[in-house]
């Protein structure tokens, strides 16, 4: 990874009736972000349009979640994911992201759309435990690739243990 990201440790919280909306092209470059997005992440519209969505990436997000995330949306399906994002000033905020592909008239994926809602404290508490486990798995590995593979496998095992699929697990939090 590049340089250490600055983290202020300050948490920003959404209100109940807010939705953070963004749209990207097929590569994950932002084509639209609403005012809620700009406000909470301390970015201007100018700064975000055309930028990769990973500008929001927080180091506490396990890579395997994004792997699953991309697998799902690229295959044309929706995904719900709890995500912690890092704003421009190093503040962070938790969201429940709902990411879906957008289709043209022929059913071809033209881009992606994300609606993010406020994540409840209970859900954040629970998901933090899981993410810590997965992160540890990734940190443990000698290289990124094996780390990713191991944590992805670990995620599947944990879900299997709970006897639910990923969606059921996330939506029940």
């Amino acid at each position: 990874m590049a340089k250490e990201l600055y983290l202020s440790g300050k948490e920003r919280v959404m209100t109940d009736d807010e939705i953070i909306v963004s749209k990207t092209d097929l590569k994950g470059h932002i084509t639209y972000g609403n005012d809620v997005f700009c406000n909470i992440a301390d970015y201007s519209t100018k700064e975000i349009i055309g930028a990769p969505h990973s500008i929001l990436r927080h180091p506490e997000m396990p890579r395997c979640i994004f792997k699953l995330f991309w697998e799902r949306i690229e295959s044309g399906r929706e995904i719900f994911a709890y995500v912690v994002n890092r704003g421009k000033q190093g503040d962070h905020y938790w969201v429940l992201a709902h990411v879906t592909p957008s289709f043209d008239a022929n059913g071809k994926i033209t881009g992606y759309h994300s609606n993010r809602r406020k994540a409840t404290n209970a859900a954040v508490k629970a998901i933090k435990v899981l993410y810590a486990t997965l992160l540890a798995e990734e940190a443990k590995a000698s290289d990124r690739k094996t780390g990713l593979r191991n944590s992805y496998q670990r995620l599947q095992e944990i879900l299997k243990e709970k006897g639910v699929d990923y969606d059921e697990f996330v939506l029940a939090l």
Binding site: T45, N115, E168
Partner: protein, 520 residues
């Protein structure tokens, strides 16, 4: 459109206003000879115009974009947004609000679509997130989520119903299967069933009781019956065909009870009769055996008599034969005598011939002797040459002498024989007389013996008849013995059977009161 046309009007007005300013400035310049004031005035007006036109362009561009976005949204393209890179101002606020309105519609539409899709695949847990949805959106989300819940409940109820039906069918099938194999103890466990299924299962179990109870009671009674216990009966109250079974079982036992009691009586009297027959046939057997042994004794005595008579007969027959032979021999003797007399006379004749011949031999011998002497003389004359001849002559002389001796002996013997022939003749005469007497006696003897023989034969015939009669009697007696034995055996086994029957019958335990009522 109105806004646009009004904007164009505004632009036209501004240009006209500037033209007015410009004309006014030209006029003051020409009319008053002023130069700087009008130029400054026009410059100011131009600046105002430029600013106004730029503001106009931005506004009209924004309006145009927003109009287009609204048109796309209206046509169902929720990807459209008003992209406004400007900092906070009224238009930015406006575009944010337009986008916010679209965002919520976009979110609502995406969510609704995906939630319904998930519901149609049975993933009812994927409902629309309520967060961020306000007013009618929120109400709609609630409505849709309620519909999803309803679908879920209905689906679950369907599944439950299906499960219940399958479970009920399976359990009832098992119950019927084992009942059709005669196992009536199987019951359906009612846990896991609900409502009317529970009721059905309870009813099925009740039906099993209804069927199995009377059968079980009947089995109990029949099992006791098989152990001879006639004191039990089917007591519970049953309906319909089960009551029929009850009546049939109870009637069977009642009837059996009566029959057993009657058999008990009958078997006792059979036993008494059989005992009587048994002792009578024992007596008969003893007597018959006595009779049989007497007959055996008689038979053996008869056999002895028969043997004696037969011996007599055969002795007489033998004597007869011997006497006949004696007679024959005597007659033959007579014939021999006659032939002997004839032979003896022939001998006498031959003896005379012998005497004559021996006389002749004697003469020939003496002449031969003379001839031999002559020959010997001649030989001695001949000397040595007649020596062999002299030996022969001497031999011939000795032979002649021996012939003469022999003929003398023959004569003597012949005379002796003649004398003996004479004596023999006398003896033969005597013997002939004796033989005649013997023949006479033998004839008398033969006659006696023939009489004895025929008497003995008659006796034998009589005895044989007696023997046959005795044998017949013996056989009949033997048959009697066998029959008496059979009879007594039969009586014995009849007694045994009667005992067995009594024994068997005691196997049944009767209800004392009912039994006496039955036989009374």
């Amino acid at each position: 459109m109105t806004s646009l046309s009004s904007l164009s009007r505004l632009k036209l007005t501004l240009v006209l206003l500037w033209l007015l300013f410009a004309l006014f400035a030209l006029y003051t310049a020409v009319a008053h000879g002023l130069i700087y004031a009008p130029i400054g005035f026009v410059a100011l007006a131009t600046a105002v115009l430029v600013v106004a036109l730029r503001a106009h362009a931005r506004l009209s561009g924004f309006l145009h974009e927003t109009t287009e976005v609204c048109a796309r949204i209206r046509s169902g393209d929720f990807e459209a947004r008003v992209i406004n890179l400007d900092e906070e101002d009224a238009l930015r606020q406006l575009s944010d609000n337009v986008n916010g309105a679209i965002d919520i519609c976009d979110a609502f539409v995406r969510e609704s679509l995906l939630a319904m899709q998930a519901a149609s695949e049975g993933r009812y847990y994927r409902k629309i997130r309520q967060e961020g949805m306000l007013g009618m959106f929120s109400h709609s989300v609630e409505g849709i989520n309620r519909a999803i819940d309803f679908l879920k409940e209905k689906d679950e109820a369907d599944a439950r119903n299906k499960r219940m039906v399958a479970l009920t069918i399976e359990r009832i099938r098992r119950l019927v299967e084992s009942a059709s194999h005669g196992n009536l103890d199987e019951r359906i466990e009612s846990d896991g069933f609900e409502g009317e299924y529970q009721e059905l299962v309870t009813n099925m179990n009740g039906l099993m009781e209804t069927i199995s109870d009377p059968l079980k009671e009947s089995i109990r009674v029949l099992e006791k019956l098989s152990e001879g216990d006639l004191t039990d009966e089917v007591r519970e109250r049953y309906e319909g065909v089960f009551d029929d079974i009850k009546q049939a079982v109870n009637n069977t036992i009642a009837r059996l009870e009566r029959i057993v009691a009657e058999i008990q009586l009958a078997s006792t009297s059979v036993k008494d009769s059989a005992d009587g027959i048994s002792s009578a046939s024992l007596d008969l057997s003893r007597r018959t055996e006595n009779q049989s042994s007497s007959l055996a004794q008689t038979a053996s005595a008869m056999e002895q008599i028969t043997a004696t008579v037969e011996q007599n007969t055969s002795s007489a027959r033998m004597v007869n034969e011997v006497s006949l032979k004696a007679k024959e021999v005597a007659l033959q003797g007579r014939q021999v005598m006659k032939e002997a007399v004839e032979s003896m006379s022939l001998i006498s004749a031959s003896s005379e011939k012998i005497a004559h011949i021996s006389h002749l031999i004697d003469e020939i011998a003496s002449q031969t002797n003379l001839l031999a002497i002559n020959a010997a003389v001649e030989a001695s004359r001949a000397g040595e040459a007649g020596r062999g001849f002299a030996v022969v002559a001497e031999e011939v002389r000795s032979l002649a002498r021996r012939s003469s001796d022999a003929s003398k002996e023959i004569r003597a013997l012949n005379q002796e024989s003649m004398a003996q022939v004479k004596a023999g003749n006398e003896h033969v005469e005597n013997a002939g007389d004796l033989l005649d007497k013997i023949v006479g006696s033998v004839a008398a003897l033969t006659e006696r013996i023939t009489e004895i023989t025929s008497a003995s034969e008659e006796q034998t015939i009589g005895i044989n008849e007696i023997n046959a009669a005795i044998a017949n009697m013996d056989q009949v007696t033997q048959e009697n013995v066998t029959m008496v034995k059979q009879n007594s055996d039969a009586a014995g086994s009849l007694t045994e059977l009667a005992d067995d029957l009594n024994q068997l019958i005691t196997f049944f335990q009767l209800d004392a009161a009912r039994a006496s009522a039955a036989t009374a």
